[in-house]
Homo-oligomer: 293 residues x 2
């Protein structure tokens, strides 16, 4: 075992030297323990600044665009004139930034339980946090599960669950009661979009099937889609869309969506109307997770 | 700097403990230095056995299916009755295994420069190497660049360049002369498919654009496609298809392809006819690599 440990160390060193997987940590810019979690900001060679919450990678300067574009645009581009968006979690501001690109969006509620995340991101991630002062945005430093219980019905076009992983204080965001409340808040054409871990990670496969089954009891349309995110475990990330009305592939009008995207197309680095349908095409092993669901 | 180094070590430990990115090396099963390279086989927790060539990840038991299915099926499923396939590199046998799934394929040439890779994979990766004894296969332990100079014209339906990265002895496989020879070997409906690194890795972006430009001088149709491969750097891998005749998206007949795949569909874990077109849809930042190319 000592030999294996020595080898592992050498291998990690080599691997990090050879590949783009390494972050190349240059220094720790900020570290604090908030009421809810440990918040750390690191400077890295490969990915710019890196935000960790309780040691988990939340975002980096260089690839945050994938996650934030993909949790918003596939839903918003299905709608003619989306007006109201609710973001649960997402205190970094990236999801809000993408939603506010649409001129038709006139009200965004951001519900982040940890106000310190917002402050730290304003200071260290100015590009991600760039829309946090938009006049159409209301920031609620509050518990997301409680917020959705008290919010008005039939109000939002899109609810995004932009939360940390399903452990600890974020656990309540992954239950059936929570998703039923989200359904209630949505207009008849509304969509829920949630991040749902990596299907390559065996430890999450059961919870992915469970989430799919649960959402299927609440929404008539449930669809998973994938994106390439280098700094998230396995490099592949899934999102799940629960939709009251639209089928995200067959009801997608690429020409209309392109007109909608035109004013800010130059800012997008990942999402486009080809990627839209493509992201809903699932590898066979992922499809098999849903057999019988 | 000492502080940063300590932090990096702690972070790596934590990261590896928390995520699916870690291999969890349990031991070194085999190690040798062949005439060409260092060959190592490791046992890992997360990905089963792992093959390293000169320290670079070539394949693991758990995710080799993605690479091997995606370097063969998108091309072979464009053809009615593919008969002859040439695999340059690929001594592990995975690409050969996928090509030989087609009953119409009656001749596969595998040209691997390092016979020790073949032997080691036969011993340690029996599933990957499972088709290496197929009677339709001829193994040539030879230099790929030399092989293509001497092979007959107008002979193959598919040539795959399943090589290591463009350094050292594999460098000759990435030049224009080599690709012109591959073009010469192909039938008028033939296709070349090559692995072309990760577009997320900034150090490869220039060579991806270069390869695209170069192939565009040789083939009337050049298309990049992507796949999710967790154990390759950044988790995203690109392939480039040079085609003499077929446009891989608009000429793809999914119904016909499904009939072709039917006899072995149960063995495939990644590729399916939805994934086919989807894999050619490129994120905006990747499309921008080809602007002006």
């Amino acid at each position: 075992m000592a030999e294996a440990k020595t080898f592992q160390f050498q291998f990690t060193e080599f691997w990090e030297a050879q590949t783009g997987l390494t972050f190349g940590i240059k220094g720790l810019l900020h570290q604090e323990t908030s009421e809810f979690q440990k918040i750390q900001v690191l400077e890295t060679d490969a990915f710019g600044r890196l935000l960790l919450l309780d040691g988990l990678v939340m975002l980096t300067d260089r690839d945050e665009f994938v996650y934030h574009e993909m949790i918003t645009h596939p839903s918003l581009c299905l709608m003619e004139e989306p007006e109201r968006v609710l973001v649960i979690g997402g205190g970094d501001g990236g999801t809000v930034r993408e939603a506010l690109r649409y001129a038709s969006v006139r009200e965004v509620d951001l519900v982040e339980i940890d106000g310190r995340v917002i402050d730290v991101c304003r200071e260290f991630f100015p590009v991600v946090a760039s829309a946090l002062d938009d006049s159409r945005l209301t920031i609620h430093v509050a518990d997301g599960a409680e917020f959705v219980r008290n919010a008005p019905a039939d109000h939002y076009d899109l609810v995004t669950v932009d939360s940390t992983d399903p452990v600890g204080f974020a656990e309540a965001l992954f239950g059936e009661d929570f998703y039923r409340e989200c359904h209630r808040l949505l207009k008849p054409s509304g969509i829920l979009a949630a991040q749902t871990e990596s299907p390559f990670d065996r430890s999450f496969r059961e919870s992915i099937s469970d989430a799919h089954r649960m959402l299927g009891r609440i929404f008539p349309q449930v669809h998973m889609y994938l994106a390439h995110i280098p700094t998230y475990p396995t490099g592949t990330w899934s999102f799940t869309m629960g939709s009251k009305q639209w089928n995200p592939v067959t009801d997608f009008d690429a020409q209309r969506a392109n007109r909608q995207l035109a004013p800010f197309l130059g800012y997008l680095q990942y999402y486009n109307t080809d990627i839209h349908a493509a992201s809903f095409a699932l590898p066979t092993f992922v499809k098999r997770l849903f057999v019988g669901v």
